[in-house]
Structures are given as C-alpha cells and as structure tokens.
Subunit: 201 residues, 2 copies
C-alpha cells in the first residue's frame, strides 16, 4: 500500500526510529511537523544536529554536557565529597528533577554484565577510583537498578573501595509511591521487607 | 531549574511544538534522538526539511504530493467520476488506509465558518466546480465532520450543484465500531436513528 508521498514516508520512518514511537504516532507527528512554519522546521532540524554534535560526556563525571565540564561538576555549591553513581545520563536528569540532591554524580554509561561480555573495564569505573582517591571524606551513593547487572555492579564497586575508608550506601528498595500493596510483585515486597525502616524510638 | 544543557533544552522545546507532545514525551524523545547514530540524526533532520520544502498541494485535488500531480489523480485505475470531498489531506491518508475507495478526492483545506470569517472563496471550492463541470457522470461523496462548519460546508456544496445533474451523498452518521450503545452521546444516537438503514426486503 503506497499512500504517503515518498518524502513523507521517509520522515515517518525517521520518527519510527525513536524508541516507543509506533506507526500511528510516527504518522501523526510527521503530519504535525508539516503544519509548523518553515522557520520552525529548520530550527528543529538544526537543533537535532546541534544536540547530536555538541553534546559530549563530562571528563569528570561522564554526564552529557555542551560545556567543557558539566554544570553540576563546575557548580561550587555542590558537595564534591558525595558522589551518586548512576547507570546513564538520563538518570542524572531524573535526580536533578527530584531536586533534593546536592552532591555530584558519576555516570557509568553501562553496567557490568558478563553475559553480554561487558566487563568492569568497559564501563566508566577507572575514573571513579581516581576521583575518589583525591577526596578527603568520600561518600558514594550507588543508585543502580535492581537487576542482576545492577547488583553485580553494586557489589563490584563495594569491593573496589573495601578498606579504603569510603562510606558507601545504595538506594533503598521498596514500595513505589501510590502503589497498592496487593499489586506488588513478590521480589519488590521481599526487598521492601528487608529494607524496612525502624520508626519506633 | 536548569538541568538540561542548552542545546538539549532547545531540542526538547522543538519536540514540544508538535501537537499532543507534552513535556515528558518531548524529553523522552529528545533523549532517544541522542542515541541514534549521527547518520540517522542527519537523515532525520534532512528529511524534515525535505518534507517541508518538497510537499505541495496537487493542482487537481488539493492533496499533498511531492510530484507535479498526486499519485491518486495520476492513477489511471481510479474512477475520476467519483470525487470524495474532504476537509484536509490527513483525511485522504485515512481513506487510503481503509483501502476500499477507488474514486478520487477533493481536499477543501478548510471548512466554511462565518464565525471565523472563513467564506466559501477561502477554501478550495472553485476548482471543484470546474473539475465537476468537465465530467460526464459526476458523483460527489461529501465526507466532512459533523460540526456546524462541516454541515454548513456540506449544505453549501449541495446548493452549488443543485439542478446540475450531479449525484451527491454524504457519509452516514452513526455508531462507531465497538462502542456500547449506552455510552453514545445523544446527538450521535439521534443521527444514527435518522440514518438508519433498512435491512428487511
């Protein structure tokens, strides 16, 4: 069935390359794009290329940035002794949106996964060791997902810094906000139980 | 709160200009775009500009096309005597997807709306009159939405061709597929009743 003009079909295919965009959404977005002004479309196209070309990883923490060093690492008000370890830069944005964290980050850009042949040297770990060695009173907060890869990486990091006077914690596992207890899967429930918090004095 | 690098914030704003894309979706799409290869991003950007620049309206029917005359008007197998009248080119794609229609189209690119000061001469109607005048046995199928503007336009078209030996019909109003009768709004129910179809012999 050939119903779209070629250039439009190409554009729809481009939108479909974005994760989570199905055929229907891609069509809707491509058609909407045609309704923007020529200026807006040109700005949009230029902005795509700018983002792709001008963003690179921060040499200190591995987050993406358009500056030499990212805004978080260069912010004097952030506590450089507290480093939150994350899998990817998307998680940094999530943390920054939550807005309550005043330390810095370290983005691994991956997780250790022997099955996929991703070893400790394949992720951004070496620079973490160097970074921590320069700190007076380092504290690491490991915020990785609770999968085999996330936990393997957590354990590996714990092992690297063993006996080196580094305070290490991980995020608590537990019940997400607003979720009914009876809808929780068994593993989450089990972990929420293990991570339970004392509320009595 | 400034958490995104400037170029990325710009890109997110571009995505937000697409109708129906909220902040969360725009962020998700901009971040996904960064994960495409540089080649893919360049193709995407070029494709946007190509679509915007190379698509124009078909001089015969008003549909969008990247050729001189659109694929539907230039298709010898389509019945040129049957013209389906639509509000916009998006509706043409919807009809073509349904796939059962073998006539041609006429895209009005608007509907008559005295309130918004859109008069008959502001929409693509003059060329319809000329087009129909050249046909042997013209049949018009009016497929406009059932709003005041849609119905005003339908009545206007009916009036133009009165006494000119043109067969005119409109799409039936009625119950959409899969909808429970008790969830239908009164107007739809009333119209479905008026457009009822005899099924006895």
């Amino acid at each position: 069935m050939k119903s779209y003009p070629d250039v439009l079909a190409d554009l729809i295919n481009c939108f479909r390359k974005l994760p989570g965009i199905g055929e229907k959404s891609a069509e809707r977005m491509a058609l909407s794009l045609l309704e923007l002004s020529t200026d807006d479309v040109e700005t949009f196209a230029a902005s795509m290329i700018d983002s792709k070309n001008n963003l690179h990883t921060c040499p200190i923490c591995g987050h993406i940035t358009d500056k030499e060093v990212c805004d978080i690492c260069s912010n004097e008000k952030r506590d450089k002794n507290v480093i939150c370890i994350l899998e990817d830069y998307k998680s940094v944005f999530a943390f920054e949106k939550a807005g309550n964290y005043n330390g810095v980050y370290h983005v691994l850009n991956g997780l250790i996964s022997p099955i996929d042949d991703i070893n400790p040297e394949d992720i951004n770990l070496a620079s973490l060791v160097e970074r921590v060695s320069k700190l007076d009173k380092p504290e690491l907060i490991i915020a990785l997902k609770s999968t085999i890869e996330g936990e393997t990486t957590t354990l590996y990091i714990k092992k690297i810094f063993e006996g080196k006077n580094v305070e290490i914690s991980r995020l608590s596992y537990g019940i997400p906000m607003g979720t009914e207890i009876d809808y929780l899967d068994e593993i989450t429930l089990d972990r929420a139980l293990n991570d339970r918090k004392k509320i009595s004095e």
